[in-house]
Structures are given as structure tokens and as C-alpha cells.
């Protein structure tokens, strides 16, 4: 069968002041009708550039070479208007960020109807009618109401469904999906993936699915192409490629994925050292050789993509490559945990609400005196929540976006003032601290952020950034201070020359290392890690997780480790707390929560994680496709509206309290311990 889409030696070069950036170097691909191809790679591997080249979105400053053949036509030879006619008609696209991809001044219905009017010349009325059918196809309840709604009225998952509806409105033969679930929560992601899998079979469209997430690709695609530094390094059937990777890079990538299992203090993740080569510097030979543990002199020769064992591989020694080196288990130092039973940090019924719509919007008029009253709405971010962290212990905090995880982290550091309850550090209420005890607390409790880019001041060099907390908390001379900065850099495994660098000269992983060093500079005992690896690529993420584990053991640090990624949390945590809408659902040892999860929400989260090993998992995750994703119930269990195991009116009227199942394991749920399977 002739291929629907073929790329012949596609190369894309971006003009750049210093040296041209070779984003895509030589990519040849063929996508047969009805197949789904996954394009996998880390940031900078060129995967989105390929989509941009197919869709003609790269703009001036980019130089495209090679052929892009779609349905027999070389797209690059078509006139602009002919090419435009294909987009939306024969080629549908869905982009990463559903929050910016919709025009805020257009209703959802007109977004979906627009391609129908433009390409199929339907009347406005007929197109809107069809749009409602399409929305219903996306398992959207009440499609008419949704069609009349504006984007800001919908959740991210709903918007992404609307975008998918618009993309398939004209029944295109090719659907390009560029990280369609990356901006979404894992439970929402699972449902979007299930929807896409279903659509594929119903509409028989071909899919080009771009993602950095191997599990997500596994759930959808037949074939996978792994990109590295603008080249395909491995291509093959999805299941086989992920189970038996052949190329060293694929092996490394899969090995660095944290498994959804308790990590424990002895294990570290395998990781890929170094960084991908800069697109500005071209060197012949294997692009991966600098980071490859199996590299030999022959790797400096130009590597060609060759067929082997049902795959295509860009590695001359693929037959002989062993498994990615395992990491030797470490012997943890005697931990400082639980010496006296007094927790390091304890929150007691801590609560925080935010005013929404304050100012003039909060004024309410009434008939009685004084006729006007100031009544802003309140959003409860953290709802009377109690938990504790021992000295030297890592508590993982998981939950979807908006569950109040970050707010809790800021409350624990007194970066936000509480509304109710209290936070105790070393047995003292944080709000009672002032003067030098407060200063001491600031040194002992630190924070690391998700976005390493914004966590460093772009105008300060790494040395200045690290020196400031040192001089703030220790009375050292300039020589000693300098030595301490070098010591800090060494702790986070950065060379001393980094002192002179500025944040923009660092990669994402390096910035995060500097941010960690800055947190360590005050010699803390407790660090709030607020999604510290969520913005990093898999191979870099593994290295940072390992670093955090090493530092935890070396200095007996306690972490409040906040993340939406259960696997990462499992890797580092001694205990895990699951949070939903400001409340704790379940807490327990890492093994309790992962292996003996009880709360329906925890089970939904676990089921939603797309796995590498089996494909079925994501498709059957959690609740049915059309169950509501949000609930705003004020009484009863916060999770009742989404709960697949709701038992009855007690869930609607009574808020379940945290009750112990075992000495280490507690849940907040009305269900008996037995019925949930």
C-alpha cells in the first residue's frame, strides 16, 4: 500500500547569528494509511520541527531540504493556497497547550464549525449542528451547552477534546498530534488517550503522534521512531521496541524511566550522562557517542540507518550492544530518622483560602442596612490538613493540578500566611517565630522549584547566586566564602568554572542543580521540593532524582517532595500523601500507597499512569469517559462526584475523616476496607 505521508531526507536548518542550527538533519519516514506513528525524543531532538515542516509553520529563517510527500504530492512544490487547502481538510492538527490554542473570543461551537464552513462549504447552521455531533462523539455531555460556551468556561481536558473535534471535523486522512496530553493531568491524559485510541479505530485516520512520554506513545501507536539530535536513531514496532530496545540511546531512555514501584533508600536510577550535542555544532559520526557507555573509535564514522531484526537502527554495533548499565545499589548512611518521636515539621489543621474577585467585584447590594456589603468569594486551597514529617524523612505529596500541593508547601515554609490551624517546626509554631529564631528557621527550611529558569535571577552569576545565602547565614571571609561556593558546586556535581556562568548559559538540568546548591547553601534540614523534575527531560530527570537521593542520605535531609508524577515520588519517598481539593485522601508508606492503595482517588491516579509494559492500562483507566471531571460540592466527601465507588448519601453529607487502616496507612473514605478490589 502506498504511504500516506513520506518524508525523504528531510533536513531543517534555522538561521542563527553564530552558526546555523541544524534542528533536523536527515529524517526519512513513511506513514501508511490507518497506522499510528509515534515520534519520540527529548527537547531539542527536532520532533516539533518535523511537524512544523509538514504543516509549513516554520516561517522565515528556516531552511527546509528534502521532500515531504502527502497523498502523492510533494507538499513543498504546491502553491501556498493549495497547501492551505490541505490543512484542516486532509491534515488535522492538535497542539500541546489547550489553554492558548483556542481563541478566547470565539465559542467552542464556532471553533469546531469553522473548518466545516471553510473546507466543506457547509452553511453556518449545518456546520454548528455537525459541531454538536462531533462534540458528542468526544464523549462530551450536553454538547449544545458546550458548543455555546467560551474557552475560559471549560477545563483543560474539555478544551483538548474540543480541539480534537475541530481537528477531525473534516475527516482528515492524517492527524498530527504534537504533545496533546503534556499539559494535562494524568487522569485527564488517560481519558484523552482512550478517546484517541477509540477515534483511530472508528475514523481510520493515520496518526503522527509526537511526544516525549514513552508510556503515552505506547498507548496509542503502532510504530515508534526515536529521534536524537535531529536524526532517527531507532525505528520499529511500538511494543517490541519498548520491550527490547536496541539502540543505546533508546536503552538509556527506557532505563532512566522511574518504575512505578517503591524506590527505597538503596536504589538509584540509571541515567544518561552529559547533554545532547548543540544543534549549532555539527560533527560527523554518531551524535550519541559522547554519552554512550558502549562508544568505540568506530562510532566517529558516519552512521547510517540500517535494517536489522525488524527495526531500523543508526548504530553500527546494535547487534552487540548490551543492556544499559545497572546502577550499583548504595549503602545508605545511618539515617537521622526518628530519634525522639518529635516530628521535624507538623501541620495541625492547617488551612488557607484565597479571595477571588476582590475589589469592586466583591461588593454585594442588599435591601437592608447598610445596603452594601463586602463579600468576596473564597477558594479553599488547603482545607484543615494535618500531616507530619520526621527528621530525615521524605514525604511525597501527589495530586492533580489545583489540589493545593504547592500552597501546602508554601504554608510549611511560612511563605504564605495560614487562614486556620498552625505549622510547627521543631515543636514551635511558625507564626510565633520572629527575629533571630525566624532567621534560623529560614536557613533550616529551604525550597526548590519546578521552573529552574525562573528560580535563578538572570542578572546574577552562579557564583553570586550561591554566595549570597552563604554570606547571609555564615560569617566567613571572602576566601572561605569562595571555598564554600566551590564546595556547593561540587555537592551538585558541577565543575567549579560554573561560578562565572550566567543562568542563560546553563541547560535546564544545570540550572536545577544550581537551584539545589542555593537551597543547600544555608545548611538546611528540610527542603520543600516543588515539582523539581517535572520540567526536565527523562534522562536529566533521572540524574536530578539521584542527586536529591544522594543529598538526602548524605545530609540527613527531610523533603516535602511535591509532584504530580507518582513514579518519581515513589522513587524518593519514604511515605506518600495523596491530596485532592485541599484534603488528604490517603497517607501511608510508599509501599502501602503503591501496592495497597485503598482510596478510590489514589487508585484512579495509579491506573491512569501510562505504562511501558502493557498497553491496555491507560485505555481502561479509572472512571468512564464521560464522568464529570470536576465537582464543587461543599458538603460531604470532596471526591464524591468523580468517585466510581460512591456508596450513597453518606458520601454527600459527611466529610470522611482520616482513619488508620494499619499503623502506617490511613485513608479518608467511607468505604469499608474490604469491598474495593
Amino acid at each position: 500500500m502506498a504511504a500516506l505521508l513520506e518524508l525523504h531526507h528531510l533536513a531543517v536548518t534555522y538561521a542563527n547569528a553564530a552558526a546555523p542550527l541544524r534542528a533536523v538533519r536527515d529524517v526519512s519516514l513513511a506513514l501508511a494509511p490507518g497506522r499510528a506513528l509515534g515520534l519520540v525524543g527529548e527537547s531539542g531532538s527536532g520532533k516539533s520541527t518535523i511537524a512544523g515542516a509538514i504543516l509549513d509553520l516554520l516561517g522565515p529563517g528556516s531552511d527546509i531540504a528534502g521532500k515531504i510527500v502527502f497523498e502523492g504530492d510533494d507538499l513543498r512544490k504546491l502553491a501556498a493556497h493549495q497547501r492551505r487547502r490541505l490543512l484542516g481538510r486532509r491534515i488535522g492538527t492538535v497542539f500541546q497547550d489547550p489553554f492558548t490554542a483556542l481563541n478566547p473570543s470565539m465559542t467552542i461551537g464556532s471553533h469546531v464549525a469553522e473548518p466545516l464552513v471553510l473546507h466543506l462549504s457547509l452553511s453556518r447552521r449545518a456546520a454548528l449542528e455537525r459541531a454538536c455531533e462531533l462534540l458528542a462523539d468526544m464523549h462530551i455531555l450536553r454538547p449544545r451547552e458546550v458548543a455555546a460556551a467560551y474557552p475560559h468556561e471549560l477545563s483543560g481536558g474539555m478544551r483538548q477534546r474540543a480541539l480534537i473535534a475541530a481537528a477531525i471535523a473534516c475527516e482528515p486522512s492524517l492527524l498530527i498530534l504534537d504533545e496533546p496530553t503534556t499539559a494535562l493531568d494524568v487522569t485527564v491524559e488517560a481519558r484523552i488517550l482512550a478517546l484517541l485510541a477509540e477515534l483511530r479505530h472508528r475514523k481510520s485516520a493515520s496518526l503522527l503522534f509526537i511526544s516525549h512520554n514513552l508510556g503515552v506513545v505506547r498507548a496509542i501507536c503502532d510504530d515508534i521512531a526515536v529521534l536524537y539530535a535531529g536524526e532517527i536513531v531507532e525505528f520499529g514496532p511500538a511494543a517490541d521496541l519498548l520491550l527490547r530496545p536496541r539502540h543505546p540511546y533508546t536503552k538509556g531512555l527506557l532505563a532512566s524511566l522511574p518504575p512505578l514501584a517503591p524506590g527505597g533508600r538503596h536504589t538509584r536510577l540509571p541515567s544518561i550522562g552529559g547533554q545532547p550535542p548543540s544543534a549549532a555544532r555539527y560533527e560527523p559520526g554518531c551524535a550519541f557517542r559522547a554519552r554512550c557507555p558502549f562508544a568505540e573509535p568506530r562510532c566517529e564514522e558516519t552512521q547510517v540507518l540500517r535494517a536489522f531484526d525488524g527495526r531500523r537502527l543508526r548504530c553500527w554495533k546494535a547487534e552487540r550492544v548490551q543492556d544499559w548499565p545497572k546502577v550499583a545499589s548504595v549503602v545508605p548512611r545511618v539515617s537521622v530518622m526518628a530519634q525522639n518521636g518529635e516530628p521535624l515539621l507538623r501541620t495541625v489543621e492547617i488551612g488557607r483560602s484565597f479571595r477571588t474577585g476582590s475589589g469592586l467585584a466583591a461588593l454585594r447590594f442588599s435591601r437592608r442596612l447598610p445596603f452594601i456589603r463586602y463579600a468576596p468569594n473564597h477558594l479553599v486551597a488547603v482545607d484543615r490538613l494535618s500531616l507530619s514529617i520526621e527528621s530525615g524523612e521524605v514525604l511525597g505529596l501527589v495530586g492533580e493540578s489545583g489540589s493545593g500541593k504547592s500552597t501546602l508547601g508554601r504554608l510549611a515554609l511560612r511563605l504564605l500566611n495560614r487562614s486556620t490551624g498552625k505549622v510547627e517546626f521543631d515543636g514551635t509554631d511558625l507564626m510565633e517565630l520572629a527575629g533571630s529564631p525566624l532567621r534560623r528557621f529560614r536557613g533550616e527550611a529551604q525550597i526548590i522549584f519546578q521552573n529552574a529558569g525562573s528560580s535563578l535571577n538572570p542578572r546574577l552569576s552562579v557564583g553570586t547566586t550561591l554566595e549570597r545565602p552563604v554570606s547571609l547565614f555564615e560569617n566567613l571571609g571572602p576566601q572561605e566564602r569562595r571555598r564554600r561556593v566551590l564546595q556547593l558546586l561540587e555537592m551538585v556535581r558541577l565543575p567549579s568554572a560554573f561560578r562565572e556562568r550566567y543562568p542563560h548559559q546553563l541547560s535546564g538540568g544545570e540550572k536545577q542543580r544550581v537551584a539545589i546548591a542555593r537551597a543547600l547553601a544555608t545548611r538546611p534540614r528540610f527542603i520543600v521540593c516543588d515539582e523539581p523534575v517535572s520540567a526536565l527531560d527523562v534522562s536529566v530527570q533521572a540524574a536530578i532524582v539521584n542527586l536529591l537521593a544522594d543529598l538526602r542520605d548524605e545530609f540527613g535531609l527531610a523533603y516535602l517532595f511535591i509532584s504530580h508524577d507518582l513514579a518519581v515520588v515513589a522513587q524518593l519517598s519514604d511515605r506518600i500523601a495523596v491530596m485532592y481539593r485541599g484534603n488528604l485522601c490517603e497517607t501511608g508508606s510508599t509501599a502501602d500507597v503503591l501496592m495497597r492503595a485503598f482510596h478510590p482517588y489514589t487508585r484512579m491516579l495509579l491506573a491512569s499512569v501510562p505504562g511501558i509494559a502493557d498497553k491496555s492500562r491507560a485505555a481502561t483507566a479509572g472512571a468512564p469517559l464521560n464522568a464529570p471531571m470536576h465537582d464543587h460540592s461543599r458538603t460531604g466527601c470532596v471526591f464524591q462526584a468523580r468517585c466510581p465507588h460512591k456508596i450513597g448519601s453518606i458520601c454527600e453529607t459527611t466529610r470522611p475523616l482520616l482513619r488508620p487502616l494499619s499503623p502506617t496507612h490511613s485513608i479518608a473514605c467511607h468505604l469499608d476496607a474490604s469491598p474495593v478490589q
Binding site: 521552573n451 525562573s454 528560580s455 535563578l456 565543575p495
Partner: protein, 286 residues
């Protein structure tokens, strides 16, 4: 390790590299103008108010390089000497605007809440008057003096500059490095002046160079209306306003001070933009 270090040395560009040629040119032009203004008393062929009644409105010649005005005063000499007042006006007005506006903007953006509301609504009131009208309002109750004119112009520019400073500060406040500074218990002054202010510099420099140009132009308008520099003193604005009546017969009266003014404004703008790029560690790399 050793080879890794040497590679890093090679990659890291030296931050203090030479200034771009455009900036050097602009700085050179500006320095020449300032120097000429300072030394104008000795450089100018004639005193500013010396009249040559017999040679009124004569075109450029070897004696009068830029011609003479309606009283027979040498236009070139007056342009040179007038530079003093014009430049002084620009610098003083810009300095006053920045000194008042940047702290206001920082405070409003940092504190938010009622401080922000109060500051910004107050500045809105000032901004709701046309600039010219507001300067006239101030000057009508003050004695006429070039310094007070400059100060009044500076005050009128405060809302514009403060708004820019505030919005940049607001953007920075959501950055995590500010949260990190709070987390290690930094003092307010450190956060304002060491963390925030350096990130405001590029905007201050650009805004400052724009305001400098606007101040000279507004000063010219004020002189034109009789509120700025009073005749017979020389000032570019005043010279332009006088030239208006003779623009058909003696265009040089307008052209020469006009060129001087444009040159200054362009040089200051180029210098500001160049400095902004030079001060930005990220842009310095490319």
C-alpha cells in the same frame, strides 16, 4: 575532569566584551555635543546676544557659518550656546522622572494591594491631564526659571515611567527567585535593590533615553509658548520658535538648531538601546 574544564572555558563567552560600534558612535556624538556645549563660550565665534543689525537674516557665509537671525545674531553661536540649556533640561527632567518614578513603580509592584491601588490611581489622575497642560499648570504658579521648567517636565513624566517600572516588577514578582529570596529571609531592601532593580535596568535605560528626548522636545514647546527659557537667552526650543516667522526667508534659522536637536535625540536613543543590549547577560551572548 581537566578536559571538561578546558571545554567550558572555551564555551563561556567573556561577558565584558567590547561595546558594539553603534553605541560607540552614539556615545561619541553625544560626548562631542556635551563638550561643545560646555566649551561653547570659547568655541562660539560670537557671543549669543551680539547683534549685527546690518547683517540681519543673511544666509550662511564664511563669517556667519549658519547665517544670522532677525536681529543679526549668529545662528551657529546661538546653537552652540543654546545646547547648554537644552541638554541641562533633558538631563534634569529625566533624572527627576526616574528618581521619583522607579521607586514608586517598585513599591507598587512589590506591595500590590492598597499601596498599588493608591499609587497607581494617584498617577492616573496626573496622567489624565495632557502633559503640556500639566506643565503649564505647574509653571503658572512658579517663577519662570529653566531649572523649574526642567523639574516640572520631570514630574509630568513620572506616571509614564512608574507604570513601566511597576509592570516589569509585577512580572518579576511571580518569578521563583523572588520566592527563594523570601525563603532565606532576605530584607526588603535587598530584594528591591539587588534582586529586582538589576532586572529593571534595561527598561530604565530605554525609558530614560526616550524621556530625555521627549523632555528636550517638550522644553522646546514650552519656550515656544513663552514658559521656558526667556529671550534673549539661547535655547534650541526658543530658537526654533523664533525661526517660525522667518522660515521662508531664512530657513537656516530653523534647520541648524533642528539638526542639533535631532542629532542629540537620536544619539541618546541609540545609546540607550545599545546599553540595554549590553547590560543584558542573555543578549550579550548572541
Amino acid at each position: 575532569m581537566a578536559d571538561r574544564l578546558t571545554e567550558i572555558e572555551e564555551v563561556v563567552p567573556t561577558r565584558r566584551r567590547g561595546l558594539p560600534p553603534g553605541v560607540i558612535l552614539a556615545a561619541g556624538v553625544l560626548a562631542t555635543i556635551v563638550l561643545a556645549a560646555t566649551l561653547s563660550r570659547w568655541l562660539a565665534p560670537f557671543p549669543a546676544d551680539q547683534m549685527h543689525i546690518k547683517e540681519r537674516l543673511t544666509g550662511p557665509s564664511l563669517t556667519y557659518w549658519a547665517g544670522t537671525d532677525e536681529y543679526g545674531r549668529d545662528v551657529f553661536s546661538r546653537t552652540l550656546i543654546g545646547a547648554q540649556l537644552s541638554l541641562l533640561l533633558g538631563f534634569v527632567a529625566t533624572a527627576i522622572a526616574l528618581l521619583l518614578a522607579v521607586p514608586l513603580g517598585l513599591a507598587a509592584g512589590y506591595c500590590r494591594g492598597w499601596v498599588d491601588e493608591l499609587t497607581m490611581r494617584g498617577l492616573d489622575v496626573v496622567m489624565s491631564f495632557p502633559s503640556l497642560l500639566f506643565v503649564l499648570l505647574i509653571l503658572s504658579v512658579l517663577p519662570v526659571s529653566p531649572m523649574l521648567t526642567a523639574a516640572a517636565i520631570g514630574v509630568v513624566f513620572v506616571p509614564h515611567v512608574a507604570r513601566v517600572a511597576r509592570s516589569v516588577t509585577l512580572g518579576l514578582m511571580s518569578d521563583d527567585f523572588i520566592v527563594a529570596a523570601h525563603a532565606r529571609g532576605e530584607r526588603l531592601s535587598y530584594i528591591l535593590f539587588r534582586e529586582l532593580l538589576p532586572n529593571l535596568w534595561p527598561f530604565i535605560v530605554v525609558e530614560g533615553s526616550l524621556r530625555f528626548a521627549f523632555a528636550i522636545l517638550l522644553g522646546a514647546v514650552l519656550s515656544f509658548l513663552g514658559f521656558g527659557v526667556q529671550p534673549p537667552a539661547a535655547d534650541w526650543g526658543l530658537m526654533l520658535s523664533n525661526a517660525r516667522d522667518f522660515v521662508d526667508d531664512a530657513p537656516w534659522m530653523a534647520i541648524v538648531p533642528g539638526i542639533a536637536m535631532s542629532l542629540t535625540v537620536i544619539a541618546v536613543s541609540l545609546l540607550g538601546e545599545g546599553l540595554r543590549q549590553h547590560l543584558d547577560p542573555a543578549a550579550a551572548q548572541s
